[in-house]
């Protein structure tokens, strides 16, 4: 069988398509990081001391366990919250879809610190939620939402929801609505139809979203450290501590290697039982789902209420940010004692902020373009590749998601320094593309599943060259994947602070880095004004868009 040799004639095209991403990963990812990993075995002589310490100590075992537990529960929570939301999103009008997408993406317009403070204001013992519940008489004693496991869940699900909602939305969109009608015709009740048809057909979306959320959660630590307690300490926090404060790169990389091996094993098990290949639905879109007569009123009500609750969950902290931004004491007192426009004035008089905003935008756009090219090309190449190496290449392409960003940052720093590429926007954009390409890859790969290769062959058979076929036939069909991938790539870049800290200088600082600097020694309230303006601007863009569409 031709399957055995990866370098056979048949594989030439696919390999060519995979090459750009593989080369970039080897040069910018594997090579520099290998240098850091080398130090996990000692600087001069070979030793396993760091590993002995990492594995032998009860504390690190506990922290590894915490990390996996938090990632798992966050993933399950994100599925539960996102499922009805994405379902409703897939069954409403296009302008409603835009509105809901906007709601899902809202958390990204605010820095982690502002987001967390908003949650603290809502959830603390004398916060809005507890006071409300007490007034209604639901509770006598305030509930402790914060500085424990529930705080971490709330904070992380809030920000990771887009990674769950968008793949789910894609899966629902590819379900043929006629199936439900057929089921009904054959006597299935609404719940039976849901359980036997919708649930299994959306499973690939759940798997894709779940995988992304799980992988991303593992590297998180800022939200848990601000909204959780000591029991919610995560491993990336320890890696950063050993790397930045202790300068013990041996210990840091030993922890990272263990994390990498654990995650890759989980990934392999997942691959074996669920199959990355089977993860994405291969359905042809027939008639899209509609919220219509095929469902009972009760069922519709349940979905609509769950989706509304999810939307409130997403919006609530954002609503707090607006009054916060004109409060005299935004980080320490709510409701505000007195109001002021001082923070907006700061923004106006200090060009740092607007400059950083445009730099961030420029870098995000570059990162989107680079990762779209690399991710799409690799996804197409891999789907056409016939080789036993396929799952390995697939796992390899995903690794930038698993490696803690701080390690990628140090690796890139040492790679860029001799090239004098530190401080260049392009350098940071390439770094962001490295983080974002797996997302594009997953999303495009998912939409390629519903692309029938026979159509491709037919078009080429009828005389179209490959690029005409791509433009006219393949592109429209993978368009949703490209859109989802672009959104992921954009927010990955726009939200990143760790790479920015290492790879930019004063002239090329991005917005998250300026925000980070504002809170290192004190909490600069200007960042709340920044968040308020970003939310406001994105709202205006959305509303204009909706109005223009209606005119059409």
């Amino acid at each position: 069988m031709g399957k055995s040799n990866i370098f056979s004639e048949k594989n030439r095209g696919p390999l060519l398509a995979l090459a750009p991403l593989l080369i970039m990963l080897l040069v910018l990812f594997v090579w520099p990081i290998a240098g850091i990993f080398e130090s996990s075995f000692g600087e001069d002589v070979f030793t396993l001391t760091s590993y002995q310490r990492a594995i032998g100590s009860e504390v690190y075992r506990q922290i590894f366990y915490n990390t996996l537990e938090i990632a798992a529960v966050v993933t399950i929570g994100a599925i539960i919250v996102s499922y009805p939301f994405a379902y409703v999103m897939a069954t409403v009008s296009p302008s409603m879809v835009k509105l809901l997408t906007f709601v899902v993406l809202l958390p990204f317009w605010t820095s982690a610190l502002v987001r967390t403070t908003a949650w603290v204001i809502l959830l603390q013992r004398r916060g809005v939620v507890n006071v409300g519940l007490e007034k209604v008489g639901f509770i006598d004693e305030p509930i402790s939402f914060l500085y424990n496991f529930s705080g971490v869940l709330i904070g992380m699900i809030h920000v990771l929801m887009p990674f769950m909602v968008l793949p789910l939305y894609g899966a629902f969109r590819s379900i043929d609505g006629r199936l439900l009608q057929a089921a009904k015709g054959l006597g299935a009740g609404p719940w039976r139809g849901f359980i036997r048809i919708i649930l299994p057909l959306s499973a690939p979306g759940v798997a894709a979203g779940g995988l992304i959320v799980f992988m991303t959660s593992i590297g998180y630590y800022i939200t848990p450290s601000l909204m959780g307690g000591p029991k919610e300490t995560m491993i990336s926090q320890q890696i950063a501590y050993h790397m930045q404060e202790q300068l013990d790169w041996g210990m840091a990389s030993a922890l990272a290697v263990i994390l990498l091996i654990t995650t890759l094993s989980i990934f392999a098990i997942f691959q074996k039982y669920f199959g990355f290949d089977k993860m994405f639905s291969g359905q042809d879109t027939g008639e899209p789902l509609r919220q219509g007569d095929e469902k009972s009123n009760i069922q519709r009500l349940v979905f609509n209420i769950s989706a509304t609750l999810a939307a409130i969950f997403l919006i609530a902290p954002i609503l707090v940010i607006l009054p916060m931004s004109i409060s005299e004491t935004p980080f320490i007192k709510f409701p505000p004692n007195a109001f002021t426009f001082e923070w907006f004035e700061n923004l106006y008089y200090d060009p740092r902020w607007s400059r950083a905003f445009f730099t961030s935008l420029e870098i995000a756009v570059m990162a989107v373009v680079i990762s779209l090219f690399l991710g799409t090309s690799a996804a197409i190449g891999l789907s056409r590749l016939k080789s036993r190496m396929k799952p390995i290449i697939e796992a390899f392409v995903m690794t930038p998601l698993i490696i803690p960003p701080i390690i990628i940052a140090v690796g890139l720093y040492s790679f860029y320094a001799p090239l004098e590429m530190l401080g260049s926007s392009l350098g940071l954009a390439i770094g962001h593309a490295l983080l974002a390409t797996p997302f594009v890859f997953i999303a495009v790969r998912a939409s390629l599943r519903s692309f029938d290769q026979n159509i491709e062959l037919a078009a080429i058979g009828l005389g179209a060259n490959w690029f005409t076929m791509f433009r006219r036939i393949m592109l429209p069909s993978i368009w949703p994947g490209l859109m989802a991938g672009s959104i992921f790539a954009f927010i990955t870049s726009f939200d990143d602070v760790i790479l920015a800290i290492f790879l930019t200088d004063v002239r090329s600082r991005t917005l998250p880095r300026v925000i980070y600097e504002g809170v290192k020694y004190d909490t600069d309230p200007t960042i709340v004004a920044v968040a308020a303006i970003l939310i406001f601007v994105s709202m205006v863009v959305l509303i204009t868009n909706l109005i223009l569409e209606r005119r059409k």
């Binding site: 504390v59 603390q124 000591p230 930045q244 980080f331 392009l426 800290i501 600097e517 020694y521």
Partner: protein, 350 residues
Amino acid sequence: MKSLKILIMTIITIGSIAGGVSVAADDELVFVSWGGSYQSMIRKAIIRPFSRDTGIYVLEETDPNTAKVKTMVDSGRVTWDVITDGEMGVLRAAKAGLIERITPAMVNQDHVYPKMKNAYGVPSEVFSTTLAFSTEEFPDGSSQPTSWADFFDVNKFPGKRALRAAPDTVLEVALIADGVPLDQVIEVLKTPDGLDRAFKKIESIRPHVALWYNAGGQPVQALGSGEVVMAMGWNGRFQTGIERGLPIKIVWNGAIAELGFFMIVKNAPNKGAAVRFLNQMVSPKSQAEFYKHASYGPVTPEAWDMIPNNEWSRLPSSPDNLTKAVFLDAEWWVENDVELRERYQAVISK
């Protein structure tokens, strides 16, 4: 043809990006600190007068995190001259060979408080970890907490507490609360029995700690909102809260004082300018400027002559506050930090 054009454009772009990196000149100095209000204080109090007096242009950068300095020094491409950090940062950087030794011939520190000196950095300011309580919970006129013993006494002062999620400064205050006299705290801490004693004390308060904080702003927010009634935290952060009208009072008794430092990066391109910069920074005149912008205390007694008397009480190194304070033994902490952090993490996450 078209692809050739793109190739050429790419080469030109990359070239211009690379060429844009400026080469340090003699009358230039690259200063790297932590941004925000801290760096703007330094800009007003030191950088501007320095540039005016010497004609040396100071190029400011932000975020001198040690991992970055290490990569820079290891790769042999040092572009920074002066960086700032706390005392533990200085000791670690010195141990890793990332910073220059500073001799008396380079920077005159004769007027600096003797116990603040360090061979690898010039002290810039004193800040403290203190106790603070909510005056809404314990108003003036009623019984108010006055010591760490009160912090650990939930019968006398009921309510939730906030403590730091890292052990340095927390172990010290636990010993003070357990009755160790201020002048013996550091000594006792270094014994195994002392450590056991400190951890035991922390275990006793554990059920009453609502917040183990990682960020400096958290205890202020928690006190202001009533989430906790007593907290440990940095004096500067509490002071900002007080100035913004929060019901907070600082207790200076048993404060743990720490030092900020300026350092010269190993093989700094403008060492001469860096040395002049450090001399200016530590001069009593510059030192007496800091209080105007933040609640940091000067590192030289001579500065007090230039600071109005009514400002002294909020500054950590004022003669009165200094007698009630213990200095963190950074050297001991650098030696033991990893191990104690692991033990502390195990204790507080039980």
